[in-house]
Symmetry: C2
Subunit: 229 residues, 2 copies
């Protein structure tokens, strides 16, 4: 498999791709993946009124203080030497960088156990997200609602998206359905995909991330075997 380098193509592992238009200068992937951890760390900080040090952020995020400083310095000079990082200021900068100032809408496709669990997740408020709807193809599951969020038939996904496409589509269907669902999402203008189905979603021109429980277990199994034989 070959791929134009430096292009908009999907990147390995943590996949994403850019639909079109100008590519901005991107922060390194590992740094982007740590930013949410820093955000949580400073929000859970013991004293929100006094500045926090890279040392303390690192302790809460499981990262060295060097790494924290290096990462944060990419967001501009945001700390104060001799003092640390102002919590509100830093939270604002990270949220801005991650694009969390605007509330992002989510559609969850697959109203099974996992979909219901994720659709009903209580942490979205304050994190910048709002679940707008759940979808399923099984009419027995549709029509109701989950904590005020309607559960609709997948057939209406496209129509529901007209005028206000979802920012993120979460796929919690069985493996067989995932590619089809992803196609519908792209067609409907959904802007990014978080996939929980155990399949590889090929590049579709929008950012895609995959979370696969079984693979996580298998990775753990490796380290487990190395540690215990």
């Amino acid at each position: 498999m070959n791929r134009a380098k430096g292009s908009f193509g999907a990147l390995v592992g943590q996949v994403f791709a850019i639909r079109s238009g100008t590519m901005h200068r991107l922060i390194p992937g590992p740094t982007v993946r740590r930013l949410p951890r820093y955000l949580r760390a400073i929000r859970e900080s013991a004293d929100p009124t006094s500045p926090i040090s890279s040392e303390e952020i690192g302790a809460h995020a499981g990262v060295t203080s060097d790494q924290v400083r290096k990462d944060l310095s990419r967001l501009g000079s945001v700390g104060k030497r001799g003092t640390g990082y102002d919590i509100d200021r830093l939270a604002g900068v990270i949220e801005h960088e991650l694009g969390l100032e605007r509330q992002l809408t989510i559609a969850v496709v697959g109203a099974g156990n996992l979909g219901m669990a994720i659709g009903g997740y209580p942490e979205y408020q304050g994190a910048g997200f709002e679940v707008a709807a759940l979808y399923d193809i099984n009419p027995n599951r549709t029509g109701g609602s989950l904590g005020g969020v309607p559960i609709r038939h997948m057939d209406s996904y496209l129509a529901d998206s007209v005028g206000h496409p979802f920012d993120i589509g979460i796929i919690t269907t069985p493996a067989e359905a995932a590619n089809e669902v992803a196609d519908v999402m792209v067609e409907a203008g959904t802007r990014a995909i978080l996939n929980f189905a155990p399949v590889w979603l090929g590049p579709r021109g929008i950012p895609v991330r995959n979370v696969r429980v079984v693979e996580e277990l298998q990775i753990l199994a490796y380290y487990l075997r190395k540690a215990y034989g």
Copy 2:
């Protein structure tokens, strides 16, 4: 934050740590994380009787063929030049490397929506795992079963582990409870932890991996903003 380099300490991001004893030569982390994808790719191969090429594996796993060959070459010389990789042989080698030959037992702590979804996941058979029990602190949730798997009170976790500790403990509790649960797991001899609670679990001497839905969404938000402004 400073940490002895090359030690058994927790590694950043994809955390793991080794309890004690000899450290084996480890395959690079990125490679380990791709192996389960290769395993799935070859299992879903069009024709299981004829050999598969690195090109085809890569296409199914979203990785370049170079990368596939480099990764697989770390497991020893397992392919045939001019031909490709024998599917059964390769699957066996990867499974061996990942330690999937022995069935691993899982305990899920937190019998809420997410715990039930993960505890009832149908893909474990064939992937090398078996959910042995679910646990919760809420007596209203305990006592029953989920597809034959008993739901027990967390108080009995320690006693249940005597003689046959769980290989992997999955934490699906709220954030506040996660650290306490992790402590119990370590005390009970649970050998690795997969954490879904939105907190950083500090190093505990056993391999730990974290999956956090909100962080995944925030990472997506970043690329989404870069793509669409």
